[in-house]
Every structure is written in C-alpha cells, then in structure tokens.
Point group: C2
Amino acid sequence: MRIILVGYGVVGKGVTTILARRYMEKIANYGFNPKVVAIADVDGAVINARGFSAEKLEKFKQKGYPLSADPDFGHQGMSALEVIESVEAEVVVEVTPVNIKNAEPALSYITKAFKTGKHVVTTNKGPLALAMPALTELAAHNNVFLRFSGTVGGGTPMLEFAKRCLAGDKILAIKGILNGTTNYILSEMGQNCISFQDVLANAQKLGYAEREPSMDIDGFDTACKVVILSNWVMGKKVTLKDVNITGIREVTLELLQDAAKRYSTIKLIGTVEDKEVSVKPVEVPWANPLCVSGVLNAVTFQTEYAADQTLIGRGAGGIETANAVLRDLLDIRHKLASKLLS
Amino acid sequence: MRIILVGYGVVGKGVTTILARRYMEKIANYGFNPKVVAIADVDGAVINARGFSAEKLEKFKQKGYPLSADPDFGHQGMSALEVIESVEAEVVVEVTPVNIKNAEPALSYITKAFKTGKHVVTTNKGPLALAMPALTELAAHNNVFLRFSGTVGGGTPMLEFAKRCLAGDKILAIKGILNGTTNYILSEMGQNCISFQDVLANAQKLGYAEREPSMDIDGFDTACKVVILSNWVMGKKVTLKDVNITGIREVTLELLQDAAKRYSTIKLIGTVEDKEVSVKPVEVPWANPLCVSGVLNAVTFQTEYAADQTLIGRGAGGIETANAVLRDLLDIRHKLASKLLS
C-alpha cells in the first residue's frame, strides 16, 4: 500500500513513527505492507516512488523542517495538490490543521485525492464538519474509501466501536464528553474551585488549551465530532450548521457547587438524538460512567438491547491519533482485500 | 443460515425473541437470513427443517415447557446430542447452564457440533474455562468457527472491542470488573456500610445473586472470564487452573472504610498481565474509570499507543446476552462470506 502523507505536524510525524516501528514487528501479522512514497508539507515535498525506509523516515523527523531540503528526495515549493495529483499511490493520509470556516486546504486535498482515485484517511474534522454528506457521496462516486477514526476520540476507537462492535443492535442515542480541554477546565473548576479564567490560563500554560481557545470552549470542536458521529453512526445527513451549540463560558463556580450538592457536576456534552443534535453544558451525576475527569473523553451509546455502553479513553495526543490512522489503513487494506475477491 | 438452538432458558428464549423481531427489520441490512431449524431442551426437541416462523417462535415462548409437546414439530425424549448429529444446520447456538467441574453437557454438545461440521456460538463459560486452548484447536481442525461474545461482559462487546477496535495497537494488560454480583455486593458494602452477609442476603432476594453464590463471590465466574480474555485477546494458552483466585469473603467493612480515606474502594479485579493471570480484591481509586458501581461491568485495556481504554456496560441479562449471540451469528456470516470468496 503506497501512502502520500499530507501534513507533517505532530500527527504526521507520529504516523511515520508508528509505520517505521511497525514495519518490523506487528504489521506483518496483518499482511499489510505500507510504504510512504511522499510527504507534503507547506514548503514542499519529499518523494520516493519506491517508498522511504524506516531509517529514512526517522532521519526526516530528526532533521526537521524543511523536509523538502533533502538533497536526494526533496522537491522545494511543490504543492500538496501537485503531489496528490502526480505521485502514484493508493492512499492519501491527510493530517493538516483544522479550519472550520471553509475547511481549506484539507477539503481541496481530499477531493483531489478522490478524483485521482485515491482512498483518504484524515484526522481533520474541518472537511467532515462542513461537508460530510457530500464527501461521503463523492468517495462512493469515485469508488474509494474515506476513513477518519482519529477525528473523534483521538486514540480511543469510538467510531469503530459504534460501527463494528454494536452490529446487530440499534443505537438509539449518543452522549459524549468529546473535548479534553473543556473537560479539564470544568474538572479543575469543580474539584478545586478555581475560576474559569485562572484554569484557562493554566491550561494554556500546560498546553491543554490553545492560545485562541474558542474552538474548544465555545463548543465547536465538540460540535464537529457530533456531526461526524451523527453521519457515521446514526446515518443522519447533517453538517455543523445543524448543531445547536452552547460552550462553557457561562458555567460558573456557583453552578458547579450547586450541582455538587446533588452529587453531580457539569460537563460539556455532545448529544445525538432522534430529533436533536446539540452541544451544551449538562448536569451529570458523579455515579454516571460518563462522568470522567481531567482530559479524558467518554461516550455513551444508548442501545436497544444492550443498554448503555460507555467507552472512555484519552481523547487526544499525537501518537494516539497517529495510531488511529494506522487502524484506518488496516481497515482500508481489509476492505480492499474483500473487494478484490468479490 | 440454519441454526440449532441448544438450551431454552432465559438466554435461549432471548435469542428466539431477538431473531423473531429482527427478521422483519434490521437483519435484512446485513444480508443475513437466520432460520431456527431446531430447539433442544432437557426433555426433547422441536424440529422443522424449513425453519420456524417468527410467529411460531413467539408461540413456543408463550406456551412454555415442555417444548417437545408441540403436536406438529415435537420430538419428546430426543437428546440434544441426537439433534446436533441428525439435523442439518450451519450453526449450533449452545446456551445451556454453566458447569465448571467438567463443563458437561455443554462440552459434549460443542465437540459434537464441531465433529459434524457445525459452527458454534456459545454463551457458556464452562467449556471455555476448562478447555479453551483445546476447543480452539478442535474448531480450527474441523474448519469451523467458535464464537462466545456473550461469555464476557454480557451485552457489552468486550471481546470484540479488544479484537477489532484495537487492531494495529498492542494490548499490554487487561484489568476488569467482570462480575456484576460481586460488584453489587462491594458497592453496597462500601457506599452504605452494610455487612457482607446482609448485602448477600439482599442480593439473593433481588435475584442478583444465586442461592449457591460461590461461583460469584469466590471469584470463579471472574476467573472463567479472565481465561477467555487471556486466550482470545492476549494469545495465552491457559485454563482455569492457571488462574490465581481470591474471592471477596475477606473484604470487610473496615478495609472498605480504610480505602475510602484514600479516595479509593475495593473491587474484585480480574487481571491478565504478561506474567500473571489472577482474580483478587484490589484497591481502586474512585477517579479511575474502571471504578464503576452497582451491577455494572468494566474493563480497561492498557495499550501501547492509545493509553488506557475502558469499556463499561451492563454485564448480564437475558436479552443482552442474546444480543451477543446475534453479534456472533453476524460475525460468522461475515467470515463465511469472505471465506467463500477467497
């Protein structure tokens, strides 16, 4: 399987790390032989039609920016679109930064990949939040797969769990804590009585929150994930504009203390129900398995026959998300194998 | 897919209920057409080579014992072994009571099914606890599948989660609360300061505990599940005798109160690690996602790349376990489809 990697930040580097390490050990167990044939970054690309060795991938990472300065394989100034168009490969792994205004440049990369017959694995919520129904259709039309495990739950396979493990049951509703930053802030406020502003400042210092924190605290990141769950798990055709979104700016220490008197706390909950798709602060009893603290994520699937099922894990992290990319690559390989046979 | 159902207790009835309901709705989505061609119970069997209709399955359930009195399809006194041997079918669903002394009669039913070329779905921990490595080999030798989702986690797909959703990662260890009865007892003792004897008596009244509670409170039920997780998820070749087992009889209110001072409580934890497979009471911090109360089950998979992942759900129940049988049937159907194509 030849792979074009687009984006070389934390997740992109994590992908090369995992692929390099796994060359030697477990990958063989799955009959899976991934080859990174190109890496495109903002300033250019490196290309090797035969695939970069594990050692070479390690060297790229140690040397760092700019990749395209590599004397043997560098193509300075070559755009990611050109790379996707001109390099022969089966899969594009798209791991560029999120943009929920117009989803670019990721949206163009993904559609270019589809139009040139390439499967796409992305960890980018932007294109899915704004255009998931259209992208799903475009992938089907071009007879390629679109996979995006890393967009929800980071390393925790929430999407796969719903799709694969609950086969045969019916998912009636989904409720989740899908954003580690807001969960960290609310946990600190509730447990240690620290004001929103102080926790936010601290979270920014620790690297849990961005300097521009609106994406997290105004609920947009959770809303993107809710869109993805709605489409993928519940078969709804919705985009970001269909989600009722309220962030955590109005959650006060007083409200949290009040909730505590009722053995509860307040969490930012993304909800997918029959009638409504929403993100808002909700009071959750401590005894509810969904009520996890710190940067953890948790999601509860309400099912017809198997009652509530809750999955908890770390929601983010470069290597965790990179591992989600590996799962998607394995899934595509598996799907292709079945397809060839049919 | 023709199915012989062996055992007609709570789970067996649940299986017919789910299959009957699902005929009409979701099953079609999976291209799956299950037909119950025989049901064998202690006193005899009902057989219909063309498959019982949804209505007929409902009628059997309403009419109740003994099944084999049915004027059209009843075979009074016919043994389950005879049914498995003589009725044409693809799958035997084995849902008879657990026996961890010698695993009979389930063990004979399963091996008979294998030898007559039938796949087996079981919810019975006995044969797996005592002979899982041998049964796995026998199934492979006869070129049939053995599936047992319902044995661990009841309706919560713990086995599938580990096997499917964590593909590409490496599971380093497993820790779980795998028995609802003991979890209920320890939760009540810890939260409401009620003595072990009083909670046990109450649990027996509520139907959460058996009149002969040793299987649960001495840790054997948890140990059976630990054996299954060890073999299926971690690739170990172990049976019940390889598990170090300590039950909850020695857990006192004092110990629980002591733990509470450290923001912890005591849970009966099944553990699968590199060197040890064990069941014993362990102190668990309240903040640990594994620390669930009441009759809930929870399992944490410690993975190499995706950190700890915890799955929580109801561990038992007739309809939940029956739904696990449905998942297994769908999985076998899926596996057979791929096999036919290869």
